[in-house]
């Protein structure tokens, strides 16, 4: 996804796909991406998934950045969790097989924080989704109009380039 595409999705998502469930899904996926290191194929695939699904992208991206800020704290949980999984004797054949597969090393599965982050993200996915959905209700009721009337969104919408790029409007 090119940077312009992400920006386009971001602005568009502020007004469309704002159903509380879509906001909840966006926040839950963004939460998982935020927990794991970004310089690997897993994070990139999750990001593509966030863009490809009909979920609220801006909320996903905002959640991702917010969670990234608390990573030093989150790593204290995800690192030992991942280490325990990666060094568990019964799972050794699985990890060894994955380690010997082409492309798999690019996913960074053998990084303790990535594996622990994925697991923690999966475990918290549903609670975060529900919390996100509740936030979606609140956003639609109180915040959406204020966001749409903000100077940033207005200036973006007023630009000719923006008008040309988003033919269908936002």
């Amino acid at each position: 996804m090119n940077p312009l595409g992400i920006l386009r999705q971001f602005i568009k998502g502020l007004t469309s796909d704002t159903d509380p469930r879509q906001i909840g899904w966006g926040i839950a996926i963004g939460f998982v991406i935020g927990l794991i290191p970004k310089g690997n194929l897993t994070a990139q695939l999750l990001l593509v998934l966030l863009m490809a699904l009909k979920v609220n992208i801006p909320m996903g991206l905002i959640t991702m950045f917010l969670v990234s800020f608390v990573n030093p704290l989150a790593d204290k949980l995800t690192d030992p969790l991942g280490y325990a999984l990666l060094t568990a004797e019964p799972l050794a054949p699985l990890w060894t097989a994955l380690y010997n597969m082409p492309v798999m090393p690019w996913t960074g599965f053998n990084n303790t924080v990535l594996l622990g982050g994925l697991l923690a993200g999966a475990a918290l996915f549903v609670p975060v989704f529900f919390a996100g959905r509740a936030f979606g209700v609140y956003y639609n009721a109180t915040l959406r109009d204020r966001v749409m009337n903000s100077k940033f969104v207005k200036s973006m919408k007023a630009s000719m380039l923006f008008d040309w790029y988003f033919k269908e409007g936002v």
Binding site: Y99, N100, P105, N111
Partner: protein
């Protein structure tokens, strides 16, 4: 077929293609330039970067990295670097290059634009370089001609200003702490508990009725006794070594005393005429800059050179979390260039083309299992260049050795010394031989530059006295060779350099001829003043080391006696023939 379905997907493919076609190479080029600028602390330029995906390859053209220390000079530049990566290892995030080619590599080339980066701090010369330059510049000659032995009589030496006194004080403080630790280590109380336990074990074994159990207990006790004697032996050897090191440290006070004498002479504007000082004065400035550059290159190489395979692997681990490795059917190092063909030019005034190859450049040498080998050759007319290097990091410690030989080069305008003292410009035919080695952290090596058929043009404008000036100018007549050398020692973290030249002897003879015994007397007077100031501290240090050493030896002797008698008493307790006790030779 629905165009509404196909169009967005085709657009995506076109966008991805366009990104790689138009944006990827410029982004990579920008990243490379920024990375090099950060590493070198100076501007870097690249003419072009071209990548291909099928097959994975990279071509870099026209790269130049500026020198942070010289604004309009490049640290190095090359015309092209081409390599192809192997596809299969790339799928496993491993960068394996079978053959790479680096062409047109040159060092110290001039540049049209400034290499200075905005806001970049100017790199100061190293401490070693600064000292050498200062020593040559401040070499005193002003009053050499009218020197009298009593010139120093009015001069007062403050002990606190002397390096030798500072060192003696520092050693005294250090010895106090070290000896305290050594005494603790030599204290037999440390072994008493183990000896008591061992005695009890032997007593218990002796009273044991069951023969098989008794033999087993005796065997266990004998094993413990052996371990005890070995521990004692090792501690004793450590103590003796520590004492020897303390004695060796006293030699450094003597070295500092010589330098203090030279410094006192310098403060009185009188030259120090020992060959070492003269050698440093002459060869220092010429070697300081080159040594600085060599140290800079060594630091860059060291940054990318693993001490061993494990160290590098740990160092490149992820910024977050830990990376757990698993057994591999076929393991490639993370980065490997099997063979790099190298060509370029040396010596820009009279270029000498060279070519060669470097094999086994890798971040995981233990995994690759082969050392890095470099072999470079060049020849043009009478000039010959030969360089070989071997860096073996496949074991626990890094072992490296390099040989460089460059002969037949024309030397003109090589300046030794300093304008503020004596300067000599040398011409002739030069040859350089260098031999360097590293074993773990320890460094060693010597580089010698010999000039044959040498012509000397000395200059001593700073010397006002005609008699002395003429003696100095004549000191080089009759010479037709010159040799300058630099020795390397110490460790990677704290390298030590020393420089010298055989011309120092000629210069010393010139001084002696001109000044006779007067300067020698002044030198003796300066040495006497330094000795007098140092004496109380040196005496105290000598007394401290002698008394502590004697005390420590006595303690060790008593300890050994105690251990011997303990072993003998156990021997008596153990029934002969049942168990063989270890022989104690401590």
């Amino acid at each position: 077929m629905r165009w509404s379905y196909l169009a967005p997907r085709l657009t995506l493919i076109v966008l991805v293609w366009a990104f790689f076609f138009f944006a990827f190479d410029p982004i990579l080029k920008w990243g490379l330039i920024k990375g090099m600028e950060k590493g070198a602390g100076a501007r870097a330029e690249i003419a072009s970067v071209k990548t291909t995906i099928f097959p994975p390859s990279l071509a870099v053209k026209g790269l130049a990295v500026g020198d942070a220390a010289a604004e309009y000079t490049n640290l190095c530049e090359f015309a092209s670097l081409d390599f192809r990566m192997e596809g299969r290892p790339l799928l496993e995030k491993k960068f394996v290059i079978d053959r790479a080619a680096l062409a047109g590599l040159k060092f110290g080339t001039p540049r049209q634009t400034s290499a200075r980066l905005p806001l970049a701090k100017k790199e100061p010369p190293s401490e070693f370089s600064r000292k050498l330059q200062a020593e040559s510049k401040d070499f005193a000659l002003d009053r050499a001609a009218d020197v009298k032995a009593d010139a120093l009589s009015a001069y007062t030496v403050n002990p606190d200003d002397l390096e030798s006194v500072k060192l003696a004080k520092e050693l005294e403080r250090k010895f106090d702490e070290d000896y305290k630790q050594l005494f603790e280590k030599a204290d037999m109380q440390r072994y008493q508990a183990r000896m008591d336990a061992l005695k009890a074990a032997y007593d218990k074994a002796k009273d044991e009725k069951n023969f098989a159990r008794q033999a087993k207990d005796y065997a266990a006790a004998a094993k413990e006794l052996k371990k005890l004697t070995e521990d004692f032996k090792r501690d004793k050897a450590d103590l003796e070594r520590a004492m020897a090191e303390a004695k060796a440290a006293l030699k450094s006070v003597e070295e500092a005393r010589r330098k203090d004498t030279a410094a006192v002479m310098g403060k009185m504007k009188l030259p120090s005429l020992d060959k070492e000082s003269l050698g440093r004065m002459l060869a220092g400035p010429a070697i300081a800059g080159k040594a600085d550059k060599a140290m800079k290159w060594a630091a860059i190489a060291r940054r990318y050179m693993p001490q061993n395979a494990t160290a590098k692997t740990m160092a490149r681990e992820a910024a977050r979390g830990r990376v757990v490795h698993f057994p591999k059917d076929k393991a490639w190092p993370s980065f490997l260039i099997r063979e790099l063909a190298l060509s370029g030019e040396l010596n820009l005034d009279a270029p000498l083309a060279y070519e060669g190859r470097i094999e086994g450049i890798t971040t995981q040498p233990r995994l690759y299992g082969k050392p890095l080998v470099a072999d470079i050759k060049g020849a043009q007319g009478r000039r010959r260049l030969q360089a070989n290097a071997l860096v073996d990091a496949t074991g626990d410690t890094l072992e490296a050795r390099a040989l460089v030989s460059y002969s037949g080069m024309a030397v003109s305008g090589l300046q030794l010394g300093s304008e503020s003292s004596v300067q000599v410009t040398i011409g002739g035919t030069g040859s350089f031989d260098g031999k360097f080695a590293a074993a773990g952290e320890a460094l060693s090596g010597r580089g010698t530059f010999n000039i044959a058929g040498a012509s000397f043009a000395p200059k001593a404008d700073a010397v006002k006295t005609p008699q002395l000036r003429s003696a100095l100018l004549g000191a080089f007549s009759g010479l037709d060779t010159a040799s300058i050398w630099a020795d390397l020692g110490g460790t990677v973290k704290a390298p030590k350099f020393s420089v010298g030249t055989d011309l120092a002897a000629a210069l010393a003879a010139g001084f002696s001829r001109a000044l006779g015994a007067e300067l020698k007397k002044a030198q003796d007077a300066a040495a006497a003043k330094v000795d007098a100031a140092l004496e109380p501290y040196k005496k105290r240090l000598d007394a401290l080391t002698s008394s502590k050493e004697a005390e420590l030896k006595e303690k060790l002797g008593a300890g050994q006696q105690s251990m011997d008698s303990f072993a003998d008493s156990l021997k008596e307790k153990a029934s002969p023939g049942k168990i063989k006790l270890p022989k104690l030779k401590l």
